[in-house]
Symmetry: C2
Subunit: 123 residues, 2 copies
């Protein structure tokens, strides 16, 4: 049982994006070997491959601004999290619009990311 999906989604995204923005390497604990990331169409599986991609993005710090956050329970007892927002890499002045979907699975009283799909929304 996923608890309150909205509360899970809010707590998860607060943690995920603040960590992403300031100490991206610390996201590793949110993924596991079965986890999948599709980042701008590129596919990665497992914590190591995902973290290698995320930590090799061409900026060290950035700011995520969330425009919308929706959540639904999934049939498998997880939570689907659907985000739209803006991403501002350090040194840039024009934020990039993005959409991102996470599927969270309950593990030992917490959640891991089993699916992560990210796209920039070009104007």
């Amino acid at each position: 049982m996923a608890g309150d999906p909205e509360a899970v989604a809010k707590a998860f995204t607060d943690h995920f994006y603040s960590t992403f923005d300031t100490a991206r390497a610390n996201l590793a604990g949110l993924y596991q070997d079965q986890s999948m990331l599709t980042f701008e169409g590129q596919k990665f599986q497992g914590t190591q491959a995902i973290m290698q991609k995320l930590t090799s993005l061409p900026f060290q710090q950035c700011k995520h601004h969330i425009s919308s956050l929706d959540a639904q329970p999934s049939l498998s007892g997880g939570v689907l999290v659907f985000v739209t927002g803006q991403l501002l890499p350090e040194g840039e002045t024009n934020p990039l619009k993005f959409s991102q979907t996470f599927h969270l699975a309950p593990v030992g009283g917490s959640f891991v990311v089993t699916n992560d799909l990210f796209r920039l929304n070009y104007a």
Copy 2:
């Protein structure tokens, strides 16, 4: 087992959006009583409530253009489908950017939509 997630996602979205654009009421067969729709933050559950929302949108016909289509298998044996694109309601000249996520569950050799989350991406 979800088969080839990309092939499922392509076949599903081809069918979904062509039906949405021309004969929206025929989407009813894709949902079931457990299905959930979050449409611009409004939540609906079950085929009847979802179809009432979709068929009451303030345009009869429209055109979806898909910009990106990503798919991943989900732990429950389903397929996650993540779409970004543009939506042009009839009579309008400016397309609206949107993002949409579907969670498809296998049922009797086909798929039903268990989760549907839709957002317009305002400029």
